[in-house]
């Protein structure tokens, strides 16, 4: 049975019960480090199973569409609001600092660049980590502790295929769209904040802002959020499906999904920003 657990190549899959932790090193002081590597190893195996489930039939299209709808609609208002608020803040801050340095004419460009390059994507990633990470984490965790996930397995259906793959795919597909919404709200409110001080049409603001910008400024940062989606979906499903310990476990799973997915979103952003600067100069 151990073979089944660790031979993902054959498209195999072991039950996701967290009961098969087997590595125990004698020294206690290595405990947390072992746990960390074990966690990473298990996450890798889980990821492989999800990939396998996602690329081999039968595909759970209905569940995918349901998740797209659910994840999209539950995050959209939050993302729009967060995007709008950062747009205003950026606008106020940029006005203050650029005026001080006598570069006020760069204001629209500064706002546009910072929104589409960084604040839009990362704000979306973090808001979705919170909302969807907790949602998926708690949902799957409560299914796990009430043996519903075991029941799916006992019915000879793969929980990875039925539950994890559609949720993760939906996160990957929805994040760039939500990022567009955050970008738009951020730019719009950034303009509003400017226009209140100094009359300027939205059209003027946008054309001044996008002068000198090309698709390389826009597409890579937007599409990098697919990676955020993968991280959020993967970690939330993983933490949810390995939950143990009743109702308390459900709370822990929801918390850890949010904490870990936001953390990894930020860490991934560091790497992605660097890569984007290298490949799309």
């Amino acid at each position: 049975m151990i073979d089944r657990n660790f031979s993902p190549v054959a498209g195999t899959e072991a039950p996701l019960s967290g009961t098969r932790r087997s590595l125990t090193f004698p020294s206690l002081s290595f405990g947390p480090i072992n746990k960390f590597f074990e966690w990473f190893g298990d996450l890798g195996i889980f990821f492989w199973r999800v990939v396998h489930a996602a690329i081999t039939p039968p595909f759970e299209f209905r569940e995918l569409f349901r998740q797209l709808d659910e994840i999209g609609s539950m995050s959209l208002p939050l993302v729009a609001l967060a995007g709008a608020a950062t747009g205003v803040v950026l606008s106020l801050e940029a006005r203050y600092s650029l005026t001080r340095f006598g570069a006020k004419s760069l204001l629209p460009a500064a706002i546009v660049f910072s929104v589409i390059h960084e604040t839009g994507p990362i704000i979306t990633g973090l808001v979705v980590s919170g909302r969807v990470g907790a949602g998926i984490g708690a949902e799957l965790a409560s299914m796990k502790v009430t043996e519903q996930i075991d029941a799916i397995e006992a019915s000879a259906v793969s929980p990875c295929r039925l539950l994890a793959a559609p949720r993760i795919l939906a996160c990957i597909l929805v994040l760039p769209l939500l990022t567009l919404a955050a970008d738009f709200c951020g730019l719009f409110m950034g303009w509003v904040a400017q226009a209140l001080v100094e009359p300027l049409s939205f059209h003027q603001f946008i054309s001044a802002g996008f002068k000198g910008a090309d698709f390389n400024d826009f597409l890579p940062p937007t599409f990098k959020t697919m990676m955020f989606g993968l991280i959020i979906g993967l970690i939330a499903c993983f933490q949810g499906m390995r939950t143990q310990g009743g109702a308390a476990g459900v709370g822990r799973a929801a918390t850890s999904s949010v904490v870990l997915s936001s953390l990894f979103v930020i860490l991934a952003d560091v790497v992605l920003v660097k890569l984007i600067l290298i490949f799309f100069p």
């Binding site: 049975m1 089944r4 039950p15 029941a151 019915s155 259906v157």
Partner: protein, 266 residues
């Protein structure tokens, strides 16, 4: 439209029928050990169930009865020992092969484990949706109604699991377990929380499946009356092992103190 009986009889004539009478037990568990951390739960347990036979598993709470059933369907892995289903060791199987075997097993969880986002009807239809893709919507609806009628739940199709009582959830769980006409049934306390009339109906249903479909069943129960009615053999578990195994009369004659105490208190 085929009645459930016809469907079950047809299914009974399929390949697994070959193993019937050939001496290969449907379920053979040998020297099974299972611990959780430092807690030893199963301690070298061995049981075998033939087709057309029902084994009742008795024992105090926490002796590992549910764990035994979970091991048999592969939801947990044993520390050592073997589990053979129709003569095939499930330890060596990959997931596809294991799924093939699971499709022929019906599992009723101790707390029913109904999908809480699906209605009663969708819960029972779940295995059909995933494994009987050739079935049309209306065929499936008919089959679900039949199954729910078998357990006396045909009047609650559209309810959510949270809106029905624990005993009713149990019965829906049983209907779901029977959806794919399994030839092995693993029932974890099917009559717990049921009124005497409903539990009598469940007993009759298990007996009927056994007679018509030659189902091999392991039924965990605290209900001695039910065990006496449906089981060919009873196995009494204590501290992770079988203390005594045999017919109800044989158990009554046993001079082991624990057996007498157990039967005496029931």
């Amino acid at each position: 439209m085929a009645t459930i009986d016809q469907v079950l009889i047809q299914a009974a004539l399929k390949p697994e029928e070959a193993t019937k009478g050939s001496g290969v037990p449907a379920i053979a568990v040998d020297d099974l050990h299972k611990s959780f951390g430092s807690q030893k739960v199963l301690n070298g347990i061995s049981v075998a169930v033939n087709r057309g036979e029902t084994l009742a598993v008795l024992g105090r709470s926490g002796t590992g009865k549910s764990v035994l059933l979970r091991l048999i369907i592969g939801l947990e892995e044993p520390d050592s020992g073997s589990i053979l289903i129709h003569g095939r060791d499930i330890a060596g199987l990959n997931l596809d092969q294991l799924c093939e075997i699971r499709m022929k097993m019906g599992f009723l969880f101790q707390h029913a484990a109904l999908y809480d986002s699906l209605t009663v009807e969708e819960n029972v239809g779940f295995p059909l949706v995933h494994h009987k893709k050739e079935m049309s919507k209306s065929e499936r609806a008919d089959r679900v109604k039949q199954l729910l009628a078998e357990v006396g739940m045909e009047g609650h199709l559209k309810k959510m699991p949270s809106d029905i009582s624990g005993g009713m959830q149990k019965r829906v769980g049983l209907a779901r377990a029977l959806a794919l006409e399994p030839d092995i049934l693993l029932l974890d306390e099917p009559t717990a929380g049921l009124d005497p009339i409903s539990s009598g109906e469940i007993n009759d249903l298990v007996l009927k499946l056994q007679a018509e479909h030659h189902t091999a069943s392991i039924v965990v129960t605290h209900d001695l009356h039910s065990a006496k009615t449906i089981a060919d053999r009873l196995a009494l578990l204590n501290e992770g092992d079988v203390v005594v195994q045999g017919s109800f009369e044989e158990l009554q004659k046993s001079d082991i103190a624990f057996v007498q105490e157990f039967l005496g208190h029931s």
